[in-house]
Amino acid sequence: MIDDRFEELLGGLMDGELSPDELSELVRLARDEPSRRDEILRQLESAEMIALAEDELRDASLFVSAIRDRLGEDAFVSRVQSAVRGGRRHEARRSILPWAIAAAALLVLALSVLSQLELGPGTAGDTSAQVPAPIARITELEGSVTWIGDGGQMNENPEAGDALAGGTLEAHSLNSLAEIVFTDGSSVWVSGPAVLTLSNGEAGKLIRLREGDLSLNVSPQPADRPLRLVTPSAEAVVLGTQFNVAADSSSTRLTVNEGLVRVKRIADGSVEEVGADQRVVVELEQETKFKALPRGEHVRTWKSEFPRDVRLGEWEPGAGDGPGFLRAEAHLFRGDHGERINPILLHSAVVGPANGLNRPVLLTEGARFRIQGRLGRSFRVNIGFGTHAARGGFSGKYTTNREINVSPEGGRFELELALDEFPRVRSLFPESPAGHELVWFWIQTVKEDAGLEVFSVELLASEPDPAR
């Protein structure tokens, strides 16, 4: 029987506002009467159908695209697994990639020999000239990414598993990311927005990073053929190490977790060696100190400081004693991988605690974000953040959406969100970001400019920060 009390509790459940006692009462009532249980089920089902009909960001094409991405990842891994007898998926994933790529190379070689046999002498040289040898492979992909081969061929729908023979990768949005694995097992995580060019010639591997965030895990390289990473302001020479780098048109921030990286400031040619657990900032101008500094202990709380922590957005200093703010900047989102939808205009503000702090910011269980800002009108915002493993490489992205209500003429808002309110962007990332380092945090509006301005972003820990 559906009585008033049951309906009241049901309404509370659907609104997410039941206390634990009320939830227990609802469960008790439903257990006593199957029709009530069916009504809960139907209400939840109907709520989801309505939500799907009303929220265009959850449309079928984006859902299919996300599945295709997951399948790309899984299909590649299973191909790799089948090539390695007895390999255990989670433990073996990285270590078996070079084997898989070597196997793929052997297959290419075998096919090439077969084609020579079939085509006869004299044609094989032409074939190899037309098809450059792969130097790397895409192993993970999410969001809008474009690959432009060295010959100028543009692929707007690259897929996990695609072999790459030198060219430029563009990761267009904050949700975009890709992992590229070279034939020797060296890997690069690319976090969008980013633009980088890859090649592997006689002098060794070369990565030109115009802008964006990379996390590199470089296998030992021959001493005379090191991996070189070039940004607009710095050049790094790497013989085997794990490090993270973020670059834009005027500065490069590099953090080394393992090994040693030799960094040259392009502006004056000065060189600095950056060892494990050290970081260095390289600016185009020469006034800034160019020195490797040890990274301090983790901090568990953090508050943005502008303009130091601005990653994307227009910084407006406050007038007089008024606070400054970061205005969301417009950029285009051109659809998820596999789905070219009409370009969507996004307005995003991105902040990065790694910009100015020498101490990494650790996300802990029970931590939450507090965002203070202003909107020109009530609007739904997308909020997310990216992480690195503690003293390690890229580990995940997490995102959620929230409706923010202000008065019709606009007004300030304050939003608090717990870590566990952010689902991971991909299933391969840890479910919980706790224990990982916060690298950047974004807030954006989709399609329309709702006048988003951010005053501050704060990470609050559930327990006092011992490092403060």
Binding site: E7, E8, L10, G11, G12, L13, M14, D15, G16, E17, L23, S24, V27, A30, R31, P34, R37, D38, I40, L41, R42, Q43, L44, E45, S46, A47, E48, M49, I50, A51, L52, A53, E54, D55, R58, D59, A60, F63, V64, A66, I67, R68, R70, L71, D74, S78, S378, R380, T400, N401, R402, E403, N405, D420, E421, P423, R424, S427, E431, S432
Partner: protein, 179 residues
């Protein structure tokens, strides 16, 4: 006969398009937190694709995927201490039991059918639904906006959801049995 890779992908994609609404609604109906519904539904489709060769294609695909999704949610109950993707473990147990005891295999739902039903709502009901599902307002906020009590708004939402569900099911019945 096994599908070739391309046929399999194309066939599977059309099945996802046909069944995604019902599967996502089903995942939510097992008491999964709204933010995690798509994560779990996608996981179920990925698992279905991986196990495609073991699937008897004379069977109901939607029912099979919902079974996979139910298993994922069942595992969530065990993981709850680590991370909460479900509303309440006792509630989820109850809803899973209901799923196991039913033999019904509902027809796939097209999102257009839901939109048709939403279009039939009165303007006041439509405004409440838009406030809740398009703008994400809570009952308390809607109550303020429409000068009602939060309890009234919740009750209204319960009834509108019931109306929408009945309307969708009626549409499916009339499609299956055209006059």
């Amino acid at each position: 006969m096994r599908d070739s890779g391309g046929d399999k992908s194309a066939r599977f994609e059309s099945l996802v398009l046909e069944h995604h609404v019902r599967v996502r609604a089903f995942v939510r109906s097992l008491g999964v937190e709204p933010d995690w519904v798509d994560d779990i539904a996608q996981e179920a489709f990925v698992k279905a694709y991986q196990d495609w060769d073991s699937f008897d294609q004379s069977r109901d695909f939607g029912k099979w995927v919902r079974g996979i999704a139910a298993n994922i949610v069942r595992n969530e109950i065990r993981k709850q201490a680590r991370r909460r993707r479900i509303l309440h473990s006792d509630l989820v147990h109850l809803l899973l039991d209901r799923h196991e005891s039913t033999e019904e295999a509902p027809e796939p739902v097209a999102i257009e059918a839901v939109r048709v039903c939403l279009g039939k709502l009165s303007s006041s009901s439509r405004a409440v639904i838009e406030g809740r599902y398009r703008d994400g307002l809570t009952a308390r906020e809607l109550a303020e906006k429409f000068e009602k009590t939060a309890a009234n708004v919740r009750q209204m939402l319960v009834r509108i959801r019931r109306e929408i569900r009945n309307c969708v099911e009626q549409q499916l019945t009339s499609e299956a049995n055209p006059v």
